[in-house]
Amino acid sequence: MGVRGARRGRGRLARRAAGCPHVLLVVCPGATGLRLETEAALAALGGVRALSPADADVLLVVGEPSAELRRAAEVTWSQLPGPRVRGVVAGPGRAEDVLRRLVPLLGSAEQEADAADRDDTAVPGPEGDPPGGLPMADRAEDRDGLTLDVLRVALGPVLPHWPAGLVVDTRLQGDVVQSATARVLRARAARGPSYWAPGPDASPDLRRGRCAASHLDALARLLSVTGWAGAASGAVALRDRLLAGEAHERVRADFRPWRRRVEGSRLLRWCTRDLGVLLPADARRLGVGGPAARAAPPHDVSARLRQWLVETDAVLGGAPPPDGGPRGEPAAAPSSALLGAAVELLPGRELAEARTVLASFDPDPDEPGAAPSVAAGAS
């Protein structure tokens, strides 16, 4: 009984374990449609999106990665603890198949052996200095005049609740952003119109649906970043129902109570108030359009969040999208301006604030003509 029983117990453990794979998505720019499909397939299989490589069993590259993103995926892959598998969702309609094929592999004996044998404790690095081959921190001026250490951290491209293909290179002191440079990774293939703003030849119904879904997607990201997973999953569910083609009126009926809950949360208002203020003059200077420019005074994160809620409600009610697209006039590439505004507001912010501010603009790197690079720094 001993050995066989142990093996059977192991098999059962493996089967159970494979029932809740944690999947890390590396989403390529231009692959929003694929990402949404993959997220839906993942939810249907009972999977969870991993927050960090150490938390993941499956690495899934969604779309066609450019050279830089492929390198990032490779580094990420080396950080997966194992049992681990990886795959690519290259085209529409394949996400579920890929996941169904990959997940059972996690339970295999080879995987277990690999996990047991692989050794990454001794990362090859030169002895002495710098230790482990890591660069030491520089020092620079800071707001308290203490000249503390500076750490260079690249936010993205593989980060939870983060726009796909966006990288913000930051200089951090502690967790305060001293300067930031944003760039959008190049897409491998030439970009068509953004998923969220289909061209003028699309049906009005589709365009309205995509606009509302885009706002819901942005809201989900913003709420996740502020740490409200409960409300975020509500937004995701509404978004997926819209994209699955459900009647707007019926989605709206469920959107209303959700909106009331989000709007009614005093704590949320308290935490997003006076944060990331973009005055109308600055918005004009930077060319920001869309909901971000229409947000009511005091033009903070809270106002932008409310503007999204209002516009989603209106669009679901049958109004046409105010600018033709969710972020502004699609032809004017509004995301460049949004990204510019967000990056300008980052220096001096602590990491959580910085991420909240960025999420409240939600630039869409998929847009053709999104700016290649924007920078902002402290004095």
Binding site: D144, G145, L146, T147
Partner: protein, 101 residues
């Protein structure tokens, strides 16, 4: 358990702390040495209370005062280190001494 044993412990802690306070260059490490010395004082005060005059609260009050002294020492130490660091970018006693010249 005797008074002698506890006093030996206190003396050992005090001596180790003294070594640190004298030998370390970094101001923060010197503070750690001082903390360790005060630690020894805490042990001594508590054992005197227990083995000599447990009926009066004097020994216990002394321990409380010593602990407060320790926090004051910490707070002022950090304030001074921060000041030094900001003003002259030094955190060692030797370089701080040179500032006088």
């Amino acid at each position: 358990m005797t008074l002698d044993l506890f006093l030996l412990l206190a003396a050992a802690l005090f001596a180790v702390g003294l070594y640190g306070a004298l030998s370390q260059q970094s101001v923060v490490m010197v503070m750690m040495g001082l903390e360790l010395m005060i630690n020894g004082v805490v042990v001594a005060a508590a054992s005197f209370w227990y083995f000599v005059a447990p009926a009066q609260p004097d020994g216990q009050v002394l321990v409380l005062v010593v602990i407060s002294a320790m926090t004051v020492e910490m707070a002022m130490g950090f304030a001074v280190v921060t000041l030094l660091f900001r003003a002259k970018d030094v955190d060692t006693t030797d370089t701080a001494a040179e500032l006088k010249r």
